[in-house]
């Protein structure tokens, strides 16, 4: 009988729940029935890659398709050819990253001299940020430098980040920053 690694783990998991097994030639029907009773029956399974170090381990994310639609569990992906289902403590704890009461879930604004945050809307936040970017950029934009050479850049705005963004996000971010004329553009790779 051919198993994929994932089937093997599912089967042995169900077996550990208490069914008797007699060698490898057992009848899968009762096991399948039991497996269907596990929490992950209601889960959507998606694959992702761990967001920590750069080994790039594969994970399987089980997302509930009932109720709050949140993560039930995240575990190593046995079919990933690098980590083969294993994870370090950070990867193994990933569900605590996504399901975390300390996460910020609304944009916030800190006013000058204030000692606290104020919750604001996305539209307000992005509108206000855009206004400030334009004001700061336009106030001191350098068309030509002291030598009279054309530079078309701003040194009044700087950006750092991020090695945690996806490739596609990194690309559009640097495109946006460069279109604004930023030269102070850096991130984790520099340190």
């Amino acid at each position: 009988m051919d198993f994929t690694r994932r089937q093997f783990i599912q089967v042995t998991g169900a077996t550990a729940a208490g069914l008797a097994v007699s060698g490898m030639g057992f009848d899968l029907k009762p096991i399948k029935a039991h497996a269907q009773m596990l929490k992950t029956e209601y889960a959507k399974q998606t694959t992702s890659i761990c967001p920590y170090c750069a080994v790039g381990c594969g994970v399987i994310v089980y997302t509930s398709q009932k109720g709050d639609g949140r993560v039930i569990d995240i575990e190593g992906d046995p079919d990933h050819v690098i980590n083969r289902g294993t994870l370090c403590s950070k990867g193994a704890a990933l569900s605590q990253l996504s399901e975390n009461k300390l996460r910020v879930t609304d944009p916030m604004y800190r006013a000058p001299y204030s000692k606290e945050w104020k919750t604001v809307s996305w539209d307000w936040a992005l509108t206000e940020i855009a206004k400030r970017v334009k004001a700061t950029r336009d106030a001191a934009f350098t068309r030509t430098n002291a030598k009279g050479q054309v530079v078309n850049h701003t040194t009044a705005i700087a950006s750092v980040g991020s090695a945690a963004m996806d490739n596609e996000e990194c690309w559009i971010y640097q495109a946006l920053m460069r279109s604004l004329g930023l030269v102070y553009l850096e991130h984790q790779a520099r340190i």
């Binding site: 080994v55 300390l102 090695a163």
Partner: protein, 808 residues
């Protein structure tokens, strides 16, 4: 990495130095163990006995900041004992090149040094060219002016006695490591190096790596299975973010950011396109204009055309001779000239060197945009310890980013593998993917600059920004843009590619504006065959060395081991037939994607093949560089002490520290060397349970429980000397700041015998910050680290500085 994670298992000898892979890249150790089970030797060299060391066959310690003497001594050992792979060195490296008489080295300085500007004139390090402008060579490697002989001369000073006196490593241990590793110089044997920040975060960081690259070339370890120079990168997508160039000095695909003196696209392309007169040199960067024009087409789409130099004048230029790097950002911010700041998925208040300076600098900002998953020491700097919010006018916008499992897109691991990932749950609450936020911000800015007059609005208005589907950011659209497509019908070698067709690979990119590609290196990743990064093929390649060519996709063009044409002899026969990467079957290469499809250097009859190209195609001359004339601090690595060191002078030469390293001298940049107030060498490192500044991991109960507090490790001897017991709370101080920590008094550190005396070293993790846990008592080790860095990369020297430790 020139190789990749799984390939580590193919090695005969693994050197882990400047890295603690078992701790910080734990799953990679699967492959280290597999290699050991096959008889490989693991060598761990580290100031401290780490988890990696506990698995090593050979462990020895060295003082932080003395890697070049350690490795330079190995170069001397290899050359003195003739252990280098001669045919490899003669065929593939610039070991045979003749160096011009202007090159010299005296008193710790190479020729061409300008002491006023602390800079070298690199034209003094040129090769002697023949009448065709191609470097002259002595393939017998005997000419006294050939690179190999100059290398031997340079490292003749690196005797084990002197090296031991600098590093604190016993001569016996040095020789044991040298002998074991140098054995991989035997044809068919492979040695690999796994390194990380322990090598890069120094004022000699680039040269640390260069020293090892030279060793790997001498031993014939580049391009072979189980070999290579393998950087273990620190973040899930720092490889991708580097490739897409979120860095001031490069454009996506490692093109150069133009300078003010690059007054036109033609001048720019001319300057950065290397030229070679050797018809046998592929000189792959000669294709530079195809990549730069295709990139500009991605930036500006239809608005970029030959008439406006494809929008070249809309791109910002850097002033000549100026550096806009990390250290400079916070220096300028401290001095008040930077008014607006994006801290996007990064926490400089804890991650940057000299964190006090960074935290003070941010008080000068008018506004900050902080995008993150959790509150952190950067976005909340205005309520940090010792800070009065009523005195801080900075407006801060906190934008909640969702977690990686809540969005779709790709990331690139250290082995250059681009891997697609999918959305599980939707973003929590009103958090959003970074892509959504960036797209919306761009739309707002375009709207503003359309509605109201602005200064030089052209670049913003002309920026191609159609990355939405149904009004929402679509990562697939960007991924296809990154690969690139034909902007109009194009006919290449008789085949016509219709407008809109995805470009099959960068070999098809054009410099006339008929193709666009947002990153030539990633061209081939998302083609008419589909999303290559999403593949999950379980089959290995016929050579069975763990390439898995159909799992995900790697750059360039899915070549898993780069420089692999050096894995064969001149006729195309693998050096090691049991672990072959590519081999010539008489008509073409089989195995891994070859590093260029040209035939081997020689025909089967042993004649030079006119159709061949040299193996190292990204180098102008086609040969790997033992002599490296392009770096800012010299063509050969040389030992210099860190900015702050425990000895009065450099025992190797007359220069105490790197004569070209940047040193910031403002009032927040205090430093002190060989100073009795700071008598111990300090270093920083990580633990497996936390990650970087701990913003993600400190907020998780399971991980915080395992590693709850800031600690400092010290030797039993130092603990006794200072009356510090294991578990005591102590204060670690440097000229820049202080940090409270729990002392771990351990045998894992031992005092070093250096310079005829005893030098103690301590080490700390840098995972903590005042924002969480709520006590605010666990802070960042970067409050101690110095304002200096490498002269090539400007990576700060956070791995070797001087501190004091006192019981509280």
């Amino acid at each position: 990495m020139t190789n990749h994670w799984i390939d580590i298992k193919n090695s005969d000898c693994i050197l882990i130095m400047g890295s603690n892979a078992a701790e910080n890249h734990p799953i990679s150790f699967k492959y280290v163990t597999a290699a050991q089970q096959n008889g490989a030797t693991l060598i761990s060299v580290d100031p401290r006995f780490t988890r990696t060391s506990s698995k090593a066959d050979i462990y020895t310690a060295l003082r932080s900041g003395s890697d070049i003497p350690f490795l330079g001594g190995m170069i001397k050992y290899i050359l003195d004992n003739n252990l280098y792979q001669k045919d490899y060195v003669a065929l593939y490296t610039n070991g045979p090149f003749i160096v011009d008489k202007s090159f010299d080295f005296k008193d710790g300085l190479f020729s061409g040094y300008d002491p006023k500007n602390r800079r070298y004139d690199k034209s003094q390090w040129a090769f002697e060219n023949d009448k065709y402008g191609v470097p002259k060579m002595d393939r017998s490697l005997k000419d006294p002016r050939c690179v190999l002989q100059l290398l031997k001369k340079h490292y003749s000073r690196y005797t084990t006695q002197l090296v031991s006196n600098i590093t604190g490593t016993s001569e016996q241990d040095l020789l044991k490591v040298y002998k074991t590793y140098a054995a991989t110089g035997k044809t068919g044997k492979a040695g690999t190096i796994m390194y990380a920040m322990g090598w890069t975060q120094h004022t000699v960081g680039t040269q640390n790596i260069r020293t090892m690259a030279i060793i790997q070339l001498l031993l014939g370890n580049m391009g072979v299975a189980g070999g290579g120079v393998n950087a273990l990168r620190g973040e899930s997508n720092v490889q991708g973010s580097t490739d897409h160039c979120l860095l001031w000095h490069i454009w996506p695909g490692y093109l150069k950011t133009p300078r003010a003196s690059d007054t036109s696209l033609a001048v720019y392309n001319e300057k950065y396109t290397p030229k070679s007169n050797d018809p046998q040199s592929a000189n792959w960067w000669q294709n530079y204009p195809k990549y730069s024009v295709s990139l500009l087409k991605s930036f500006f789409g239809e608005n970029a055309n030959p008439g406006n130099e494809f929008g070249y004048s809309w791109m910002p230029k850097a002033d000549d001779g100026k550096v806009y790097s990390w250290l400079d950002i916070f220096d300028e911010m401290y001095n008040g000239s930077i008014k607006g700041f994006f801290a996007w998925g990064q926490n400089p208040a804890c991650s940057g060197t000299n964190a006090n300076k960074t935290r003070d600098a941010m008080k000068n900002l008018d506004w900050m945009v902080n995008t993150n998953i959790f509150e952190n020491e950067t976005g909340s700097f205005w309520r940090g310890p010792g800070t009065d919010p009523a005195a801080i006018k900075t407006e801060v916008f906190f934008l909640p980013a969702c977690v990686s499992v809540e969005k779709e897109g790709s990331i690139t691991n250290s082995g250059r593998w681009m891997q697609w990932r999918y959305q599980g749950p939707k973003p929590l609450g009103n958090s959003l993917p970074d892509g959504d936020i960036i797209l919306m911000l761009g739309e707002k800015l375009k709207e503003l600059y359309t509605k109201a007059p602005g200064v030089f609005s052209d670049p913003i208005l002309n920026l191609k920004w159609d990355y939405a589907t149904g009004g929402v950011y679509d990562p697939h659209k960007v991924a296809r843009e990154i690969n690139g497509y034909f902007v109009q019908d194009v006919t290449i070698k008789g085949k016509t590619y219709a407008k809109g067709t995805l470009v099959p690979s960068f070999a098809f990119l054009q410099s006339d504006g008929s193709t666009s590609s947002a990153n030539w290196l990633y061209c081939n990743s998302y083609t008419e065959k589909g999303n290559m990064a999403a593949r999950r093929g379980q089959e290995d390649a016929p050579n069975e060395i763990g390439l898995y060519p159909e799992f995900a996709w790697c750059w360039p063009v899915n070549r898993r081991i780069i420089y692999n044409r050096a894995s064969v002899d001149a006729k195309g026969t693998p050096w090691n037939p049991d672990r072959w990467v590519i081999k010539w079957n008489g008509e073409k290469w089989v195995g891994d994607v070859p590093d260029g499809g040209w035939p081997p250097l020689e025909t089967a009859d042993g004649f030079k093949n006119p159709k061949t190209k040299h193996a190292f195609i990204m180098q102008k001359h086609g040969y790997a560089q033992i002599f490296g004339p392009g770096l800012n601090d010299g063509p050969f690595p040389e030992h210099y002490e860190p900015l702050e060191c425990p000895v009065e002078k450099n025992f190797m030469n007359a220069q105490r520290m790197n004569p070209t390293a940047p040193v910031y001298g403002g009032k927040a940049d205090e430093w002190a060397t060989c100073d009795p107030r700071y008598p111990y060498v300090g270093t920083t490192y990580r633990v497996v349970e936390h990650w970087q500044t701990g913003v993600m991991t400190r907020h998780q109960a399971w991980l915080l429980e395992m590693q709850p507090q800031m600690f400092v490790e010290m030797s039993m001897e130092l603990g006794q000397l200072k009356g510090i017991k294991n578990g005591d709370r102590v204060k670690v101080t440097s000229p820049r700041g202080e940090v409270e920590a729990t002392a771990i008094v351990t045998k894992r550190f031992r005092p070093f015998k250096v310079g005829g005396g005893v030098v103690h070293q301590v080490g700390m993790p840098w995972h903590f910050g005042w924002e969480f846990p709520k006590s605010g008592m666990e802070e960042s080790a970067n409050l101690l680290t110095p304002s200096t860095g490498d002269p090539n990369t400007r990576i700060p020297e956070t791995k070797a500085f001087m501190v004091n430790v006192v019981k509280i």
